[in-house]
């Protein structure tokens, strides 16, 4: 037995390059898995930390529903609820810092967080990097985050001027908060001030400052020791009668944060599973080749009395060596990849992740799946090796590979094992069955594509060979013959490439449709060329900002837009207030039910609502129905006057549309979030500077519609760039497989090559025929990969949307995938081709 194990070693050592390439392939597969797990754990850890710093020791949080915030009366009711030990109110506001001499002009907004300096420390600890905490008595002190201090050049003791509704307020920096500070989603640009100061920012010149704390964004509630959370929550529900509000618990915050990362985690897990798939194909192919190559020796061993089980053990030992070495290297590769991915995600600003966490679980999962998949992949070749009768092997003079060709059928088993592994490794938050279902769908699709290969091989090779045949007829012919020698091997080789390229194409099509749906509403819905966003509700009407904008010469239209929430049938309904008449003229908003003119006119009257068709279907309401929404003044009835194909996007889908009149009079809207500005034809150039000057003066952010869609697209591109990187790992694995296969083909064809050389074929021709073989393999992979990728893309993005699936075929990426497939395959062929060209004729033509 020991002797045979030594033989297993020697067989690996004899093909050092193949052994090494296979180990690298396994390590890439394991690496992507470890990276995905590391990033996943890193996201979890960051979310836990964020939740801890956000919620602190609070047991419940009451959040204002209306923009006006929670009133003093509500705060009073809340404090009186039995079981409530402490309430810590806070006001959140977005504004700008006034530019000051000696400091770089910073145009990005800041988040002002007003806190109750006496209650706050009992709820959460604000970690200070330097300086002192806010003093309860001092209204003019402020804390800034390290991030803000660094980007705006702020220091302890500096004065800050904060823009508000009235005159700017001046505060002095007394402390610097560590890192990004307590507010998520502010990009770390947070200023913490006493709650009264934050409240004063909302008071316009001439209004009297309120005497009580009000307009509160949220209140953190700490319960008395032993008070049951559920019971107190119920009591709060009975006690708060004055205003609508949302009651949440810390777990809710954590789970909503987790939900926001679910897509990327699921995609990464899927990519990891798919990369492992590609790696498994590589292993299966390598093991099959090892067995084919050694078949005569193994037959001799059998003839010399070796048991079948001993032969199996030889092959399994080889697999074990490959698996262990590959997984070990994979942990290292994965750790590097995880840091890279985390840095990338951080830079894309989409997700809060501080760093990856490579825990024992990731290491274990990496090694277990690497070794496990290698062993499973080796079972079939080992079995076939043992099943070959010694007599047959020794008798057959010619093509022994016939006896033990790679069997693609075994792939099904390998894939089933990986699939199960993947399901076990999917992020824990995936309670939604749609995600695993889609993953299984993708898996099955890829598997079917690979398994269809043998049937498609001949026509596909002919098709892929066409371009080569034009110039290199003979080489193409020989290459195609080599490809068809062992269909199983070709299938496995091309299969890995198909998978890698399919993922590249699929990601591009998903990115494409994400970009389309993220930006299409702008063109469909926004009635203007430029959007001015306000960070606080901006005044509308006579003397309001819309009037000021309209009065600029060259501005054709300035219409206010406000987004807010409606409470309907105890759910939160995202709503946007618009002026119907402003939409009437320019043809935007595509009505699928109800009369467009009548509906838009009705919005400017009272009691009308327009629903996006998708939302109407979900709520089960139609044109003519009445919806009763809850407000602080009781129920308000709104009649559905029309349905639109799409409207302004909300967090959970398209928003419902209501008129300005209702929104301000009954629904708690106090001002506009944004103004859409349209220029008169040909006047953009001269009017735009004036609009932008006014915007600056009014603390509005001006962004052309194209820039908005560009920014949305850029953020998506960065995110998908990372995913592409992971998908490329599968392509690289495929390239390693191509090197292995072509080397093996060359070895097997040594006699044929020798004969051809004796018949007058030149080295260059031999070299070219191997390159063409690679090119055909690459083109086949590119073609099948593209088709599969488009299908996977459709599956992942849930149909192609209204425009149909063809609209999401990412043609440039398809072209890229085919070129990449061919180029990479030919690059991989460089060395085998060189070897083939150098085959010495006497050696090749010598008998056995």
């Amino acid at each position: 037995m020991r002797g045979l194990v030594r033989y297993a070693w020697r067989a690996l050592a004899a093909r050092r390059a193949r052994t090494l390439l296979t180990i690298v392939g396994i390590s890439l597969g394991v690496g992507v898995l470890v990276a995905a797990l590391g990033v996943d754990a890193g996201l979890d850890a960051s979310i836990d930390r964020t939740v801890a710093s956000m919620v602190g020791r609070a047991d419940l949080r009451v959040t204002a529903f209306e923009e006006t915030g929670l009133s003093a009366g509500t705060l009073e009711q809340l404090g009186a609820v039995p079981g409530v030990a402490l309430t810590a109110p806070a006001i959140e506001r977005k504004t700008f810092l006034a530019s000051q001499a000696g400091r770089p002009v910073e145009t990005a907004p800041v988040t002002i967080l007003g806190i109750d300096a006496s209650a706050e420390p009992r709820v959460r600890d604000l970690a200070l990097a330097r300086g002192v905490a806010l003093a309860p008595s001092d209204d003019a002190s402020a804390l800034v985050t390290e991030t803000l201090a660094a980007s705006d050049g702020l220091e302890l003791g500096d004065d800050l001027q904060i823009l508000g509704a009235g005159a700017p307020l001046t505060v002095k920096i007394t402390g610097v908060l560590r890192g990004d500070g307590p507010e998520l989603g502010s990009g770390g640009r947070t200023v913490v001030v006493p709650i009264r100061t934050a409240q004063l920012l909302g008071v316009a010149d001439g209004d009297t400052a309120p005497t009580q704390v009000g307009g509160v964004t949220r209140v953190d509630v700490v319960l008395a020791a032993g008070a049951p959370v559920d019971q107190v929550a119920a009591s709060i529900g009975q006690a708060l009668t004055l205003q609508p509000y949302v009651l949440s618990r810390p777990q809710d915050v954590a789970s909503s944060l987790r939900a926001s990362t679910l897509d990327i985690r699921a995609t990464m897990a899927l990519l990891a599973a798919i990369t492992l798939f590609a790696a498994a194909i590589l292993i299966l192919n390598t093991m099959a080749m090892t067995v084919v190559e050694r078949i005569r020796e193994l037959g001799l061993l059998r003839a010399a009395g070796a048991q079948r089980s001993q032969i199996v053990r030889v092959v399994v030992t080889q697999a074990l060596v490959l698996g262990v070495a590959g997984s070990g290297l994979g942990i290292v590769v994965g750790t590097l990849l995880a840091y890279l991915a985390a840095a990338w995600l951080r830079a894309s600003g989409q997700l809060a992740i501080e760093g990856p966490v490579i825990g024992p679980w990731a290491v274990f999962a990496g090694i277990a799946s690497g070794v496990g998949i290698t062993l499973v992949a080796a079972v079939e070749p080992a079995r076939r090796a043992a099943a070959v009768s010694p007599v047959a092997v020794l008798r057959v003079r010619s093509d022994t590979s016939r006896l033990v060709r790679a069997h693609t059928g075994w792939l099904v088993v390998v894939v089933a094992v990986i699939g199960t592994t993947a399901v076990l490794l999917l992020p824990g938050g995936a309670t939604d069955l749609a995600i695993p279902a889609r993953a299984v769908g993708v898996y099955v699709l890829l598997l079917v594509a690979v398994l269809l290969m043998p049937a498609l091989l001949a026509p596909l090779a002919r098709l892929a060979g066409l371009p080569f045949a034009v110039l290199l007829r003979l080489e193409e012919r020989l290459a195609r013959a080599a490809i068809r020698r062992d269909p199983g091997r070709t299938t496995l080789t091309v299969g890995a490439l198909v998978i890698g390229l399919a993922m590249v194409v699929a990601l591009a099509s998903v990115a494409g449709s994400a970009r389309v749906s993220a930006t299409a509403w702008l063109a469909d819905v926004v009635p203007g060329d430029e959007i001015l966003t306000a960070i606080a509700p901006a005044p509308v009407g006579p003397g309001g900002i819309d009037t000021q904008l309209s009065s600029i010469d060259g501005v054709a239209l300035a219409t206010p837009i406000a987004s807010f929430d409606l409470a309907y049938a105890s759910t939160r309904l995202e709503a946007v207030a618009i002026r119907g008449a402003d939409f009437l003229a320019d043809g935007r908003l595509d009505f699928t039910a109800g009369d467009r003119t009548a509906a838009l006119n009705a919005l400017d009257g009272t009691g009308a609502i327009v629903l996006p068709a998708s939302r109407a279907a979900r709520l089960g309401v139609g044109v003519g129905d009445t919806m009763a929404v809850a407000t602080s003044q009781g129920l308000v009835n709104l009649k559905v006057v029309g349905l639109v194909a799409r409207s302004f996007p909300g967090r959970t889908g398209d928003a419902v549309l209501v008129g300005w009149g209702d929104a301000t009079a009954k629904l708690g809207v106090v001002g506009a979030d944004a103004f859409a500005v349209r220029y008169a034809p040909g006047r953009r150039a001269d009017a735009q500077p004036q609009v932008e000057a006014l915007a600056r003066q009014l603390a509005l952010t001006a962004s052309p519609v194209s820039a908005v869609s560009g920014a949305v697209g850029d953020a998506l591109d960065r995110l998908f760039g990372l995913l592409d990187l992971l998908a490329l790992a599968a392509v690289v694995i495929a390239a390693l497989g191509i090197v292995n296969t072509l080397s093996m083909d060359t070895l097997e064809r040594v006699r044929e090559i020798g004969m051809l050389r004796a018949a007058g074929m030149s080295r260059i021709q031999v070299w070219r025929s191997v390159l063409v073989e690679a090119g055909i393999l690459g083109a086949m992979g590119g073609l099948v990969g593209s088709v599969t990728g488009v299908l996977v893309g459709v599956l992942l993005s849930g149909g192609g949307g209204a425009a149909g699936p063809m609209s999401v075929v990412p043609w440039p990426t398809v072209a890229l995938a085919i070129v990449l497939g061919i180029a990479l395959a030919m690059l991989a062929a460089a060395q085998p081709a060189r070897l083939a060209g150098r085959v010495p004729i006497p050696m090749a033509v010598r008998g056995e």
Binding site: R397, S398, R473, L474, R477, L478, R480, A481, R484, R485, R751, E752, M755, L756, R757, A758, A759, G760, M761, S762, R763, Q765, P840, I841, P842, V845, R846, G847
Partner: protein
């Protein structure tokens, strides 16, 4: 029928005024192995006249294949030289050697002579394809047809190698080797894998090319019955030419005279 070793009569003897088509001068070939040097060919000189059918015969390991590879320019000698039509081919560049193989020599090996996925016509036309010519052109197609007819395979043009018997495969190899009308045809144990009767078909095909086209042939074999097809037999032993037996051109191919002569030599 006489058992006397036959010396060719004057009429059939190669004429001395014609220059040899192939000439070897003091050829040696050494293989360096770890710890020893194997001398496969040790000072061989011989010449072959145009249109001659010669055989290299000898026991296994005597150096026949090595000698053939040197004569055919597949390998380079350690010393000595090979002249093909008066030109030395020992020091040709790779591309010149390739052109030589493509245009002036043809080879038939013991096995693996054909490209599996090409049919008979394509395999026979391979040298033209390699040279970048179109084997379907009028002239070349005719030559291919002619070669196929010569080896008696007309009617099997569309068969692929795996649809042919081993003997038929070897005949396709012969047709391919002669289709370019090479100056020299080299065959290394072309019947080695075949039974006696099938082997005769191959030898018959070689013989016909020699008779009908004046093809010069160098055949390697360890079988006296095969060598009996030749005009002249070089007996190879231990890397050297031990004897030269002139049989003359005979259409009966009887092996008896050769065997008797070999017996006299104690072989």
């Amino acid at each position: 029928m006489t058992f006397q070793p036959t010396i060719a009569d004057e009429a059939n003897a190669p004429r001395r005024t014609v220059l040899p088509i192939l000439e070897a001068r003091s050829l040696t070939k050494q293989y360096r192995m770890p710890g020893e040097i194997v001398e496969a060919v040790r000072g061989v000189s011989l010449s072959v006249m145009p249109g001659e059918f010669v055989a290299l015969m000898g026991p296994s390991g005597s150096g026949k294949s090595t000698l053939l590879q040197l004569l055919g320019g597949l390998d380079q000698p350690s010393s000595g030289e090979v002249l093909l039509e008066g030109e030395p081919i020992g020091r040709l560049s790779d591309s010149d050697a390739t052109r030589l193989r493509r245009e002036r020599t043809g080879f038939v090996f013991q096995s693996f002579n054909l490209v599996p996925l090409m049919n008979v016509v394509e395999n026979v036309g391979l040298p033209f394809t390699i040279a970048g010519q179109d084997p379907r052109s009028h002239e070349l197609a005719a030559r291919i047809r002619e070669a196929i007819a010569l080896v008696d395979l007309t009617g099997k043009e569309r068969h692929r190698p795996d649809q042919l018997s081993a003997g038929e495969q070897q005949r396709v190899a012969v047709a391919r080797a002669i289709v370019t009308r090479p100056a020299l045809l080299f065959a290394d144990e072309p019947t080695g894998n075949l039974d006696f009767r099938t082997g005769l078909d191959i030898l018959g095909a070689l013989w016909r090319t020699c008779m009908e086209r004046g093809q010069t042939i160098v055949l390697v074999t360890h079988d006296a019955k095969a060598a009996a097809y030749a005009d002249r037999v070089f007996v190879v032993g231990d890397g050297q030419i031990q004897d030269e037996i002139v049989l003359g051109r005979r259409s009966d191919h009887a092996a008896a005279p050769l065997i008797a002569r070999l017996a006299l030599l104690g072989l």
